[in-house]
Assembly symmetry: C3
Homo-oligomer: 665 residues x 3
């Protein structure tokens, strides 16, 4: 781990209206920036014609960055294909459920197309060969925000059928696993394996989605293997993993933000190709800046390799909704570090004057001159160059794991809880409630979960779970762990077959309750609060009801339960209700688990870890435009930003969008 | 007519996660069930490969049912085609206005495709041959919820052009009938007959819709003819006619309920193939259970053959919105009988563990164990096995006909009254108002209407009416009948040509009024109540205005009128307003017609008929969660459920979702 | 210019259910009508088979009209193609971004298809040859509401690529102009020029849109050239230019009205083919009748040739929303004259009994008899036949130009301000505010603008402006002009490259301010009023702030500014706020410009001009159902309708939807 915190931006000199690399490097340097990411999505500039290469724009940046003592990350250019390649072979363009694509957008290629692979390999090799030896180059980013792009083309369908044959051997096994007899979908000859574009079997369709994700992860591994042939030992391989994008209703180009689990590639699979986890995180700003997206994204990506990660993209001004208030740019930068990031790069350095993302504005506005955002970036740059050693590479050991699962997410797209409640809505409801209580957690893929590392495991709608994992969770509780699960957890197996015995399958003894009815809540309330979207009618079989439903007919059933099982505890939230009630459950669960529950709560966010000197570091991140005073919760602590010391109980004044970094003595 | 009321469920042992036919039959039997429907939509199980048949799963059910003294209905499996058939001939899949289909869903076949017909014939023959001799088999259901599936393929278009040539002889006749000169659509050579996919002539497009419906009905007749070659005398041929499905906005799989006239097959045409009318009825539950869908569906299907009908599908728990409150399952079961049903079958016996309808839950939940719904079904089963003889096969002779018409429905899709007011909205507004007043009616296809059978005829937006029918209606009134018509009735002829003289065409003398203007109502009110969607500006020409519009400019026109014409009366409601105002009109109309208007009104629904002993039976169906007391309206009556007797005026206590079956002495 | 005001209707005897040309002409004549437009969209009647022509229905109208002393306008029939033509060559049907079209609708042809052109030429020549000599024929309308129909077919794409090669010479020039390096879209060989259907470069896509519009205008010029070979000197060539159609949410066929700048053909280009500007104007009615659409459309079309224009289509009853209140038909008719129209024709004479527009009702309802609308038309007819000489051909010389631009409109479709604020929303916000203040203006295409003709120029979001025009505007202000510009003006060049220096480019000195940040307004207010959609954070550099934003962080920036520059004034509105605040700015700007600002304001609209006798004519148009009294603002004036004289300050009583035409002494 470098001592220096990486601070910089994506940089596209080839998009500039006039030659100004030197001026840009000068301005970056002056703002304390020390790294640029270049070259991703520039294939048509790098290889203007089939087999003709031009590295001049890359060389110039490396040279000027080198002169300025700055570092360079090289992105492979593959995610936006050049026009000549699609003309050569129209099959390069992905075929999706909506049919064939037209050339134009990025991320429209068929990643199994041989022509694409052959040309991608050549340009990657050329680029790696050309740049790996350059001093300023510290690492490579392979491709960019890779996904499967809804690939339903010939190649992927053939590969999927082959994979199914290998997995199930006989069509009877396949029929049985997915219940294909339903609506006459069973097949009795592999030749009859149907086109996935029409598939209405949620289990098989979700299996195909998983396969699509795997193809995308395999593709990244393929790129990584190519890079590995050229890169130096000290150079990293990273990728900007991104998150499900949530539209916020503005309904214009580039409307949305990083919301939850990514449906179109699996981060846990994808991360295997990387030596350094990387990510893109975008979030609401101005009055809607809460830090939750930064924390969720950070906790997710840090957990992939359980170490520092790089924020390859985050927003400067972006579009009109995201012009930051004074102080917000700095608050968000520190929030990344507080989750364990080793650096952040803005997307992008300068606003672009043409093209689709003209208004995804960078640090510089279109006038390419200084501006309030640039000036605030310079403040960050200066602080980080001073504090780097103290705060870079924060180590965390969290006691809580929040478990995520792409397959349950697919399942709930087929069998939705409610049109207004997605899988990620439940994930965020459960994650954000922890976040707001300052209960830090790892966000862990179900396939990567090692229960022995945690005291408390939280499962938001973990719908599809193989029996083996159910048994692991039961053992976890029996041995003293605390399990907190929401409605719609443990419903179906890995093929989305609903378990056909007492629910929750295997775990009903652990939870001390069962149910065989559920309902739209209607007028139902729980602890006086509205219940929405889903209510399981829980019958006590050993558990205590933490609250019964308030309803003429459903009043005989519980809505949330607690059960002591073996050495541990199992909590179950059978319905969606307000965060306040969920937090009440969390408070008891944390207590059962012996986890300290801080008194400070959002909008004062506390994120902690250990720095390389072994000292406890606590970030106080103030997500509010109101000033407030809090009392120092630590015995003796010094604010690394101001040098001011605080004793326990001493008032700490937090101005609007303020940051304190308290180092415990 | 059997003395026993049919009570059972659709049953799919082939969908079960493990072998449990014996256990299922035992549980059904224990719940008083006496019938299962099997085999529809199981083609790929029945004929796993082209020409290879497997009847084992059918035989087992017939055998076990036989042992238990239960009956079996055999469904032909055609409505979900197997994958091998579509691989053999991709033309089996329907081509719609949205293009070709992918294999997967049910109901996606081209019912005119020769390959489909050839294979469907073979499997139907095999199945009928195999099962017709079995003792427990009481009848056959042909296909399932058959419709035209939006068929716009080559075969149907060629057949339609041929039909048009036969009907019109010359292109000039065609041009004139539909006004094709408009926008240069006229043709002068049959070769120029255009592709219906681009048709924007509402008349011709509606003619095509009627043709599509006819093809679907012909297809049913074709299946019935095949079955007739095999079936025993005592075996019936039925089909589950279903209704227009109304989404209720949950926007998830299987969101909606049986709302109104079916657009994609004509029940009157389809019923010609059947010896027993059958239907599927689904409806809102919990706080939204009103009984209106059950009554509307029942009145529609009973009227097809003017005799008992079978409810082949109704809901047990279905999806989360439809988990019944205690008592509701029983109330809905009796409501079917009260409309004249001879039995009901749930869809389905058990919740399915895989596939598209995993959450269209059956009597059993996924745990396949007892549960509150199963237990309530058992109560029904027990009561029916006792009461069957007394209440089965209720005979009705209604004095009111509510007239429905597929062609007017098509017309109003092309020429909508308002985006928020469909044809079926008007039908239901007029039907439900009768229903809530406990004025029972037949729901009759306009082509089946015999005015002489009724004292009062109600026409909701009967937009497209040939002159012959207009004359019939005029005669009906002249001879003493009472006609109640809504706005947008009698507007156009059978080709959707708006009549070009005084409106309403032919009937303006009968109604004693005319209009040549209409308007969006805006701020208009009628009798102090809001007017919405449409207001015809009625000018009195002999009629009395029952109410003038309340509006600065439209106040000079009437909104509802009454006219004495010949021996009869004609009422006209020129706008959409609240049900209360419509009911006021109905009250006067019923009085004119000499029809008794009960004092009891919804939520206490009264449905009456004559049982096989010739006794008057009155169902009191209580659609409310509040208890209430009513006074017995009959001189001497005994509640068949409790044996309790009531005299006129004696209080009858109705608990929540209660049922009484009063037999008059 | 004729003395007689043209008054009539589009007439389609070929759509009539029975022969009644004589009766129709009699009824028109009786209503004071003097003109009919015929034959457009009747190709399949005119040429029922390839090469076979039938003029009988045209001849009959010309003959009967001639007998009655009425005039005829002949429309070429090309905009609805016959079925036989599409069967001959399916390429006649346009291919759009949504794929190929099916035959049926009008306006679905590929206007570059050679088969279409060849047959269109023949039918136009035949028709012109046949009718040009007829006495009653006063002119020709070429095609009908012509647009490019989203043409993305082979021919237009090839022509576009060729045009780009000619314009840019090298691919490098092309790449640079549009910034194609972004997302690897640059090309280095003209063969790689991509399919426009996938284009995501807003600049190039907008260039293509402009090309599509040009092809439509060229097509009109081609038709005009053909007509010119046949027409007499005294016969005009016109076309019904229409406007962007705004849906009002009724979501049924034919839902919407004439709202703003037409996106799919450029009026300025199209008008070059015409000798008489013509237009279609539809507008909300009843409580929503404001006159704004009539004024906007009139000011736009009159400005094309700076002379009288013909309203070829306006509504009689149209669909249910547009049934006029008594007086409204007359008010709207006079409103057209008040904008400088030389006549108006209803669409259409009679309601059609079949086809897509059955409910776009004409002067006659479907009963083809008299009705209130017909009767009110007769009032207009009578008044006009008396007043024609006095009021026809009103001349206007406006001091204000409101500048419109198709290219900025395209740009804002790619780079929207907000999903709820379109280009035309801003145009109408700025236009309507002038209209409501009774500040009359010309609506001028940016390419036609001659600043020297005006004292004040208003630019609503003039986003894309070449440097040359920016310099013209700077000169205009320097020399004493008053410039009023809104946010998002002067942002980008003609290729939609955002200018890369201080904003607003070139004009920042003229405005005395600049900005490099903008934001979604959130809670921002200006002068206590809500700010919505967009707020530029204006920094004063010589200008005076007319109001600073009210917001914790943005309060340091101005929202509207005024600057004296050279001899003139520059006003800038940096955000969208209420009309009241905009009007305040206008009031000051008008004063700076020495333009008189009337005290009377909407709902009393004043529209003025000079009649052929050189007298000042003032229309008072009363857009309200309330009566009111105003004071005569003119020294001595006589109401031409009543003959009543008014002196300055004397009360004039305006009844609901009233009209006065004051001639100054």
């Amino acid at each position: 781990m470098e001592k220096e915190i990486l601070f910089g931006a994506a940089y596209y000199p080839e998009y500039m209206p006039y030659e100004r690399v030197k001026e840009d490097i000068r301005m970056m340097k002056e703002a304390g920036m020390n790294v640029v990411r270049i070259a991703e999505s520039t294939w048509s500039t790098l290889e203007p014609e089939d087999g003709v290469f031009d590295f001049s724009y890359i060389d110039q940046v490396i040279e000027e960055a080198g002169k300025a003592g700055m570092k360079v990350i090289i992105g492979t250019p593959t995610y936006a294909v050049p026009s000549w390649l699609c003309r050569k072979d129209p099959g390069v363009l992905v075929e999706t459920g909506q049919g064939e694509s037209y050339y134009g957008r990025r991320q429209i290629f068929n990643l199994l197309n041989p022509t694409f692979r052959c040309h991608a390999e050549r340009v990657i090799r050329k680029l790696a060969e050309h740049t790996a030896g350059a001093g300023p180059v510290i690492g490579f980013q392979i491709d960019n925000e890779t996904k499967h792009y809804g690939n339903m083309g010939r190649e992927i369908q053939a590969a999927f059928r082959k994979a199914m044959e290998e997995k199930f051997q006989t069509t009877e096994n396949l029929n049985k696993a997915f219940g294909l007899a339903y609506w006459s979908n069973s097949i009795h000859n592999w030749e009859d394996f149907p086109d996935m574009r029409g598939c209405i079997n949620g289990g098989l369709a979700s299996e195909f989605s998983a396969f699509q994700r795997k193809m995308a992860a395999d593709y990244l591994m393929w790129q990584a293997d190519l890079i590995r042939e050229y890169k130096r030992e000290d150079q990293f391989i990273t990728h900007n993993l991104d998150f499900e994008w949530k539209k916020f209703g503005a309904d214009i180009a580039q409307d949305g933000y990083s919301y939850g689990v990514q449906p179109d590639i699996n981060h846990y699979e994808a991360a295997k190709a990387l030596t350094l986890a990387g990510t893109d995180i975008y979030h609401p700003t101005q009055d809607d800046l809460t830090g939750a997206e930064t924390a969720f994204g950070g906790d997710s990506v840090r957990s992939l390799k359980d170490s520092g990660y790089l924020v390859l993209e985050c927003q400067a001004q972006a579009f009109k909704y995201w012009t930051p208030y004074p102080g917000q740019l700095r608050l968000q930068a520190y929030s990344h570090l507080a989750s364990g990031a080793i650096g952040t790069l803005y997307w992008n350095w300068h606003s672009i004057h043409s093209g689709y993302e003209t208004y995804w504005r960078g640090v510089l506005s279109h006038d390419l001159d200084t501006n309030p955002v640039y000036e605030e970036a310079a403040v960050i740059g200066k602080e980080w160059s001073k504090l780097g050693e103290k705060i870079n590479g924060l180590q965390k050991k969290n006691e809580i794991a929040l478990v995520i699962d792409n397959h349950s997410m697919s399942a709930l797209n087929w069998f939705p809880i409610d049109k207004d409640l997605s899988y990620n809505d439940v994930v965020r409801w459960m994650y954000d409630s922890l976040y707001e209580m300052n209960l830090e957690c790892d966000v862990v893929d179900v396939r990567a979960l090692d229960p022995s590392r945690y005291r408390m495991i939280v499962t938001p709608t973990l719908y599809s779970v193989p029996e083996e994992m159910l048994k692991k969770l039961e053992t976890f509780v029996r041995k003293g762990g605390v399990l907190v699960s929401s409605f719609r957890s443990f419903v179906a197996d890995e093929y989305l077959r609903v378990y056909h015995d007492k629910a929750p399958h295997i775990l009903h003894e652990c939870f001390g309750m069962s149910y065989n009815q559920f309902t739209e809540p209607g007028r139902t309330r729980l602890k006086g609060k509205e219940v929405r979207y889903f209510a399981e009618l829980l019958k006590m079989e050993g558990a205590e009801s933490m609250a019964d439903y308030e309803h003429k007919y459903w009043g005989r059933y519980a809505g949330m339960t607690h059960h002591t099982f073996g050495e541990g505890h199992a909590y179950y939230m059978g319905c969606w209700t307000c965060k306040e009630t969920l937090k009440e459950l969390y408070r008891k669960a944390a207590k059962s688990a012996g986890i300290f529950c801080p008194e400070l709560a959002w909008p004062v966010t506390v994120r902690s870890g250990v720095n390389r000197e072994g000292k406890q570091i606590h970030y106080l991140l103030h997500y509010s435009e109101e000033e407030q005073e809090i009392l120092c919760p630590y015995d003796n602590a010094v604010d690394l930003l101001t040098g001011k010391s605080y004793r326990k109980g001493e008032p700490i004044c937090l101005s609007d969008w303020d940051v304190k970094i308290l180092e415990e003595a």
